[in-house]
Structures are given as structure tokens and as C-alpha cells.
């Protein structure tokens, strides 16, 4: 160690690099991360790869049901639309919808969970019984009923997903908060006279971030499935928008003659859900600061 480093300067060393170091060692998690990055990359640059209006939703009857080739990597569907281009744009929809809805659910769920967990008592009872009522209905059924009640649109789908997953997050976060609240360092903070707000923001939430990120990652995978299922049933994204579930639905009629119409969107769903699960599991281990290196 040099003199320079020994100097008493105060500069916070982030823990992100340590987490990254641990995550890098987990091969499965890295595989998940790479797949996810590729999918997000394709989704972000979807417009450069294939033009939405002409290739993705534009009809071209001369190009119907072509088998995969160099020109059409995954073939074309019965309306002459490129399946590869549609899958990429579909990813854009699924990923962005699930990210947005999960962010809403995490934000609201975290708030409810933190308040219920930290303050306890009657506040906790009321909030958690409410969450229990919501939890009694499976997320899928919940989303179906909300979309059916509010009408089919992308915004309503977002709302439906968010509401369906709020109780899930509220539960997880509440139990995390409860276990952190009982630890001595929280008591130590109170012994210094730290206010409740500061204890929550500085001492409890940073320690709860790990489980929240893990849960959000895993739930995102589940949300992608719900979105696709809803679209498959005709309750999600309306055609001609290229959602994976919608594509499966449309491809189902010609599944015998042109199986690639369902194979590629199917693979896309499977890959995205799998990569999120792998990454989530890896993060669970990597985010624990007590594990050395």
C-alpha cells in the first residue's frame, strides 16, 4: 500500500463492484445476463433492424408462409410478415410492459411493506389483511378480471399487472423489513437518536434492496408469461401489434404446416423468462454483503 492510499481521505467505495465480482463467478447467472442483454439490445434497436410499419405490421401477400431463409431468418407468417422482425418488436413490448408494471408494483408494494413492517401493530394488520385479500386471487385471474372490467388496452394491462403483483412485493418486503428491524444495528441507530424516516431510508431499505431486486427479477419473468397468456387469450395486446402471445395465437392455425410460426415466439418467451430466473437466483447470492468475495 502506498503513502497516497494511506492518506486519510474519505471517499465512499461502492459495493456494486463487489457484487459484480461475485456475480461474474456464477456461470448460470452470467448466461442469463448475457441472454437478457442481447434481448434488451434487440428490443432497443428494433426499429433499426426492422421497420415497424412496413415489415412488422405491413401485409405482403406475395411473401406468405415462407420457410426460414437468409432473407427471412425465422420465415414469414400467413400475412407475409417477417417472424424475426415481429419477435424483436414483440420483445420490445413484453419487456417494456413487464419492466414498467413491475416498477409500479415494486414502488407501491415497497411502500406498503415498509410501512407495515416498520410500524407494525394496527397499521400492519389493516394493510396486510388487504394484501391477503388481493393475494387470494391468482395474478393471472386478477389481470383477466381487471382487463375485462376496464376494457382492453395497453394502459389497462399495465394497471392490471401492477395491481396483481403489489401484494406479492408488499409481503416479501414486509418480512424482509421485519427481520432487519430486529437487528442490533437498527437499535444502535435509535440509540444515537436517529429519526424513523432516516432509519428506514438509510439503515433498513439499503439492506432490503437485495431481496427486492431478486424478487423483482423473478417476478418480471412471471409477468412476461402473464402478458403473453393474456394476449394469447385475446385480452392483452391487440393485433396487429406483434406480441409474443398474439403471435402464438395466430400461428396456432398453421402449426402443422409452418411450426416455425410458434417455435420462434415460443423460444423468445422461454429464453426471456429463463434468463430472468437465472439472473435472479445469481443476484440472490451475489447481493449478500456477508458472503466474502
Amino acid at each position: 500500500m502506498t503513502e497516497q492510499e494511506e492518506k486519510q481521505t474519505y471517499k465512499k467505495r461502492s459495493q456494486v463492484s463487489a457484487v459484480w465480482h461475485r456475480l461474474k463467478k456464477n456461470k448460470l447467472a452470467m448466461l442469463g445476463l448475457i441472454i437478457l442483454c442481447v434481448m434488451i439490445g434487440l428490443a432497443v434497436f428494433a426499429d433499426f433492424i426492422a421497420d415497424y410499419d412496413t415489415v412488422v405490421i405491413g401485409l405482403d401477400t406475395s411473401q406468405r408462409l415462407l420457410t426460414p431463409s437468409l432473407e427471412h431468418l425465422c420465415g414469414t407468417d400467413q400475412f407475409g410478415r417477417d417472424v424475426f422482425a415481429r419477435s424483436i418488436h414483440g420483445g420490445r413490448l413484453s419487456l417494456s410492459l413487464s419492466i414498467i408494471s413491475m416498477s409500479i408494483a415494486v414502488a407501491i408494494g415497497a411502500f406498503i411493506g415498509v410501512v407495515a413492517g416498520y410500524y407494525g401493530g394496527r397499521v400492519d394488520d389493516v394493510l396486510m389483511r388487504l394484501m391477503d385479500i388481493l393475494l387470494a386471487i391468482p395474478p393471472m385471474l386478477m389481470s383477466i378480471s381487471i382487463v375485462a372490467a376496464l376494457g382492453q388496452s395497453m394502459v389497462n394491462l399495465l394497471i392490471a399487472l401492477a395491481i396483481a403483483y403489489i401484494p406479492v412485493f408488499a409481503r416479501v418486503i414486509r418480512s424482509t423489513i421485519l427481520s432487519i428491524k430486529g437487528q442490533e444495528f437498527v437499535e444502535a441507530a435509535r440509540a444515537c437518536g436517529t429519526s424513523n424516516a432516516r432509519i428506514i431510508l438509510r439503515h433498513i431499505i439499503p439492506n432490503a434492496i437485495g431481496p427486492i431486486i431478486v424478487e423483482a427479477t423473478l417476478t418480471m419473468g412471471a409477468a412476461i408469461l402473464v402478458i403473453s397468456s393474456l394476449s394469447f387469450m385475446g385480452l392483452g395486446i391487440e393485433p396487429p401489434a406483434p406480441e409474443w402471445g398474439t403471435m402464438l395465437y395466430e400461428g396456432r392455425e398453421v402449426i402443422r404446416s409452418s411450426p416455425y410460426l410458434v417455435i420462434f415466439p415460443g423460444i423468445a418467451i422461454a429464453l426471456s423468462v429463463m434468463s430472468l430466473n437465472l439472473l435472479g437466483d445469481g443476484l440472490r447470492d451475489a447481493l449478500d454483503p456477508r458472503l466474502k468475495n
Partner: protein, 317 residues
């Protein structure tokens, strides 16, 4: 006589449990003079940790008073309490759980300084953190480390530096060395005693280890099931233990003595019962070899048997 630095009067802390009222701390009266160390000894479940936390209002007392320089802090409002907390601090038992794993060493030590808004200037504040670290024997280069990168002894030093940050007058030490190895334990005990000499601190030293408490305390209170059963100066208590429980506790310490090897010696029979809805009379009576009819009724009041030596046993001499 001048008012003592800290006076605990009829302090009670009850918890409601499904089985009934748990009398964790039951009518405890103690005083601590400036610059002194009061050792609080007892076995697990005797309420010693609850006592420490109730004194600092980390737990709200059920009833009773805690007078700090003559003022009852249990009646303080939030603002007064914030000011009082700077002078009343605590060191915790578990050097692993008592430090926030997401904060660096410097941030942990700076926490009380930030909360008390003592320093406007960040640079000055971290200079103070550096000083504190040197005081407790931590190399200032460890500022940016995280607690999980350090061993138990160093972590406990961080906890001590945090407690010292606001120049407290009184510190509750809750088993600060019981999680540490003997050689590290001795280092920490020496540090605590040096700090007392330099800064004139008062300690309330909670432990189950009688040899540690003898070493560091000027006065000792022995607790059993929520009550203080004996209180005296350290020398006096070890020389003339009066309460049967204190006698049994002293006899049970495994002192270094190879002549006792393989021989039978007297041990206290039975186990600590639970302080839920305790029966009237002496709580130690079920395990006491001298117990008689009279021990199962009435309240056992502390009475003075010689100057400054108080015992809650009617038969003690």
C-alpha cells in the same frame, strides 16, 4: 450529598405474552456516580439486557423513573431526548449484527455526528471520525472498509468509536466482550478502562461473566428474574457475598484450579424459571437450599446489611 449522575427508581418493564405478563425488569433501584462502573450480572433471562435498554429508553419503561443529573428522562419529549442521547450511549453485544453491513466504517462512526448535526462541514466531520478511530485503536485507512471485511475485535472497536462520537458521559455496555476470543476480549477491556480514565466516563456494564465484571466494575448489582437481589461495592461483594444466589453464582465460576479436578463440588440445582406472572415471595426460593416457609410470601425488599451493601434476602447476614 450531590445528585448522582444516574439514578434508576422503581423501574419496571413488563411485556405482554400469550402466557401472561412477563416481568422482565421488576422494580429495580440503582445509582451510578460519575466516573464509576456499575456491573450488572445475571444469567440469561434475568432481565439485564432489558434493564440496559430501558434505561436508555430504547424500550419504553412500564413505570418508574430514570434520573440523569436529576432530570427524569422517561418524561423527555423527542427533542430533549435527542439531546440526551448524545450523552447517553450504548455498546452492543454482537459485533456482527450491530453494524449496518451496507455502510462503510466511516459512515457508521459518523452516524451519531450526522444525526446530532454537530458538524456543518463534511471534511471536519470525517477528521473527527479519523480521530475517533485512532482513539479506539483502529487504523484510519480502514475508513472505507466494510464491517464484514473485519474481524470481531475490530468491529467491536467500531461500535465503541460510534458510541464515543458525541462525547457521551454514560455508556451502557451490553455484553461487549462475550462474543470475542480471550486475547481480543482483554484488548477491548483494557481499551474501555483506558477510555474511562481519559474521559471520565461512567459505564453500566452488563455481562454474565463474573470475572470480567469484577475486573472492570466499581459496584456490582446481581440480578435474578427481573429483580436486583444484591448490590454492593465490588470488593465487598466478592469478599462477603450475602445472597444465596450470589454465593452459588460465585461458586459456579470455573476458576483455574487443578485441585478441583475430578472432585465433586457443590452446584446450584434446578434451572431459571420464567418471569411470566411470577409467584409472590422470593423468586430464587425454588432453587435456594436455605429456602423456608417465609420465603414464599411477601415482597423481598433490598435491605442494607453493612455500609453500601444491599441484599434482598431476609436471612442474609
Amino acid at each position: 450529598m450531590a445528585t448522582p449522575m444516574l439514578e434508576i427508581k422503581h423501574l419496571k418493564k413488563y411485556f405482554s405474552t400469550p402466557a401472561g405478563q412477563l416481568h422482565a425488569v421488576d422494580d429495580v433501584n440503582l445509582t451510578i456516580e460519575a466516573g464509576q462502573t456499575l456491573g450488572v450480572v445475571g444469567e440469561s433471562g434475568c432481565g439485564k439486557s432489558t434493564l440496559g435498554r430501558t434505561v436508555l429508553r430504547l424500550l419504553e419503561p412500564t413505570s418508574g423513573e430514570v434520573l440523569y443529573n436529576g432530570q427524569d428522562i422517561t418524561k423527555f419529549n423527542r427533542k430533549q431526548m435527542l439531546a440526551a442521547r448524545q450523552e447517553l450511549q450504548m455498546i452492543f453485544q454482537d459485533p456482527y449484527a450491530s453494524l449496518n453491513p451496507r455502510l462503510s466504517v466511516a459512515e457508521i462512526i459518523a452516524e451519531p455526528l450526522i444525526v446530532s448535526k454537530k458538524y456543518k462541514n463534511k471534511k471536519e466531520m470525517y477528521e473527527r471520525v479519523g480521530q475517533l478511530m485512532e482513539t479506539v485503536g483502529l487504523a484510519p485507512r480502514l475508513m472505507n472498509s466494510y464491517p464484514h471485511e473485519l474481524d470481531g475485535g475490530r468491529r467491536q472497536r467500531i461500535g465503541i468509536a460510534r458510541a464515543l462520537a458525541t462525547d457521551p458521559r454514560f455508556i451502557v455496555c451490553d455484553e461487549p466482550v462475550s462474543a470475542l476470543d480471550v486475547s481480543i476480549q482483554a484488548q477491548i477491556l483494557n481499551l474501555l478502562m483506558d477510555l474511562q480514565d481519559q474521559q471520565g466516563l461512567s459505564y453500566m456494564f452488563i455481562t454474565h461473566d463474573l470475572s470480567v465484571v469484577k475486573h472492570i466494575s466499581s459496584h456490582i448489582a446481581v440480578m435474578y428474574l427481573g429483580q436486583c437481589v444484591e448490590y454492593a461495592e465490588t470488593e465487598e461483594l466478592f469478599a462477603h457475598p450475602a445472597h444465596p444466589y450470589t454465593q452459588a453464582l460465585l461458586a459456579a465460576i470455573p476458576v483455574i484450579d487443578i485441585t478441583r479436578r475430578g472432585k465433586r463440588w457443590e452446584t446450584l440445582q434446578g434451572e431459571v424459571t420464567s418471569p411470566v406472572n411470577p409467584a409472590p415471595g422470593c423468586r430464587f426460593a425454588p432453587r435456594c437450599k436455605y429456602a423456608c416457609e417465609g420465603c414464599h410470601e411477601g415482597n423481598m425488599e433490598l435491605r442494607q446489611i453493612s455500609a453500601g451493601h444491599w441484599v434482598a434476602c431476609p436471612y442474609a447476614k
